[in-house]
């Protein structure tokens, strides 16, 4: 007897260098916030693969992932029609309440995807959203047009200067009321240092279960130990301990 939910791949498309966008049809009822993630069972691999939710509606979940190892390599070869066992609605996700009128969303690499649904929700709430998307090089850039289509003001940076603004995400500093960030830890640290005022930062850690049971991904915060998978992945700026 199986109790976790089965999802069907409806699209799996290469959208940038080693980056794929996969659409999965199935129950999305457990997803309650932007910035949550799903944990995907992949045949032949013991642990599930946690991937952030890029967008969702009543019938479908969109994830964007980068091929970095065996699991994502297998995922990249899954044709439409493949069925997958997913745990969904994992993690706390972003809190929209403190955003102010001009929230700034900053994403680096595969930290960009969860900001998409966040931008959508903030714009729907009438906020004036700016987005900084940081990549290493032009061939890795994705979602610039997608964010623009939502109505966000978009800045793209590349570390090598082959596209957009040369430099890291901190190379530009638009007007803002609040910061939402997701990306590799060095980027989060740089954003944390560059911006005063409030913000929420989404962290990554090697996980065992993804739902709070194993204590594998614990981090230290000013309010004590927190599990990145269950009490995070989003932490408020004031509680972060580097």
């Amino acid at each position: 007897m199986k109790n976790s939910d089965v999802y069907t791949v409806t699209e799996n498309k290469n959208i940038a260098k080693n980056v794929f966008r996969m659409t999965l049809a199935g129950d999305t009822g457990r997803i309650s916030a932007a910035g949550q993630f799903v944990n995907i069972k992949i045949d032949g691999l013991f642990l599930r693969r946690p991937v952030s939710v890029c967008d969702y509606n009543e019938r479908e979940i969109v994830i964007v992932y980068k091929v970095v190892g065996k699991g994502t390599e297998k995922m990249s070869k899954m044709p439409a029609g493949t069925t997958l066992d997913l745990l969904t609605g994992l993690g706390n996700g972003y809190d929209l309440a403190p955003s102010g009128e001009k929230p700034l969303l900053i994403g680096g690499g595969v930290g960009v995807p969860p900001l998409y649904n966040l931008a959508k929700k903030l714009i729907a709430a009438g906020k004036e959203v700016s987005v900084i998307l940081g990549f290493n090089a032009a061939e890795e850039v994705f979602f610039e047009e997608e964010f623009r289509a939502l109505g966000a003001k978009v800045f793209v940076t590349t570390a090598d200067g082959s596209y957009g603004i040369k430099g890291f995400v901190t190379a530009v500093k638009p007007e803002h009321s609040y910061v939402y960030a997701c990306g590799p830890e060095p980027m989060l640290k740089a954003v944390y240092a560059a911006y005063e005022g409030g913000g929420q930062f989404s962290f990554e850690e090697r996980m065992g279960c993804g739902f709070g049971a194993c204590m594998g991904c614990t981090c230290k915060t000013k309010y004590g130990s927190k599990r990145v998978c269950k009490d995070g992945p989003v932490l408020f700026k004031e509680e972060i301990v580097w």
């Binding site: 069972k41 013991f46 065992g208 269950k230």
Partner: protein
């Protein structure tokens, strides 16, 4: 109708399925997935005298059919467990849970066990002398028969509830530490804890785990666990909670035939949070398939 009841030192369980310590927190959070009252019992997160963060991350590494962990007994400390975690568990779990006690000295083991022994929520104490992820504690006790006997005797004198000593497989002959626990007065034994292992990251040319080594668990260790349960059953003659790689109802039966009176399910919970419920639900079908009417009657059934 088949009978799935088993008895552990006077404690009757509706079925032998118990989530293993460290894979199920303090239980109540799994209510998000299912009603945890279907379980035989729950082995709670390893608890020490003082609160612990555990080891630095990364502390999880994937392996073929299993994983390494080097969590290192993260827990809020016994006082918080008693004041905060057990009341939360009691709100949703009507059965007796198993306290898992860790420590770094005989005194700490005794202190923690004595506090948990007083709790209504606890039906049995599992003495963890086998955690491979802490220095100067855990496994450093568990590999030395003299220390196993000493700590068992000291804790036994301080508790009223049944005391099961959780043994490490990282020894030459597990029956030696099993017999040492018996001499110390253990009411039962719990085995196996994780196998000490290591993975190395090819890109970084360095161990995957920040703590370098970790405990290996998951389906891959099942045959090792069955062998050790079989050996300890013959050598010690004490009731055994068998664990190590159990992932389905058939595995439960195999473990019991080897000599286990009840069975803990560990790593499988981490990949399938519904694993224990699925095993409980599947047990009657598998029992019927193999002509078993009462689980209590098959314990040690594989011994001639």
């Amino acid at each position: 109708m088949v009978d799935t009841k088993v008895v552990l030192s006077g404690l009757t369980l509706d079925n032998p399925v118990i989530p293993a310590s460290g894979t199920f927190g303090f239980g109540y959070e799994f209510n998000e997935f299912y009603d945890i009252n279907v379980l035989g019992s729950i082995a709670l997160k390893g608890t020490t005298k003082e609160g612990r963060f555990g080891n630095p991350t990364p502390r999880i590494a994937e392996c073929t059919e299993g994983l390494l962990n080097s969590v290192g007994l993260q827990n809020p400390g016994v006082r918080k467990v008693v004041e905060e975690e057990l009341p939360k568990l009691r709100k949703t779990f009507r059965k007796k849970a198993i306290a898992n006690v860790g420590g770094f000295s005989v005194e700490e083991y005794v202190y923690t066990a004595a506090l948990l022994d007083k709790e209504e929520a606890i039906g049995l104490i599992e003495l963890n002398v086998s955690c491979p992820n802490v220095h100067d504690g855990g496994m450093s006790f568990g590999v030395d028969p003299l220390k196993v006997e000493e700590v068992t005797r000291a804790v036994k004198a301080a508790v009223k509830k049944p005391l099961y000593v959780k043994l490490t497989p990282n020894v030459t002959d597990i029956t030696e530490t099993a017999l040492a626990a018996k001499r110390g007065g253990a009411d039962g034994l719990s085995l196996i804890n994780t196998l000490l292992g290591m993975r190395i990251d090819l890109k970084k040319r360095a161990p995957v785990l920040a703590n370098k080594k970790g405990g290996f668990s998951g389906r891959a260790v099942f045959p090792v666990a069955v062998r050790m349960v079989y050996e300890v059953y013959e050598a010690a003659g004490l009731p055994i909670i068998g664990m190590g790689g159990v992932a389905c109802a058939e595995d439960v039966l195999e473990m019991m035939l080897a000599g286990a009176s009840a069975v803990e399910v560990g790593a499988e919970n981490l990949v399938n949070p519904y694993a224990c419920r699925e095993i409980v639900e599947d047990l009657p079908r598998v029992m019927e398939k193999y002509g078993i009417t009462s689980l209590q009657n098959i314990i040690g059934g594989a011994h001639g």
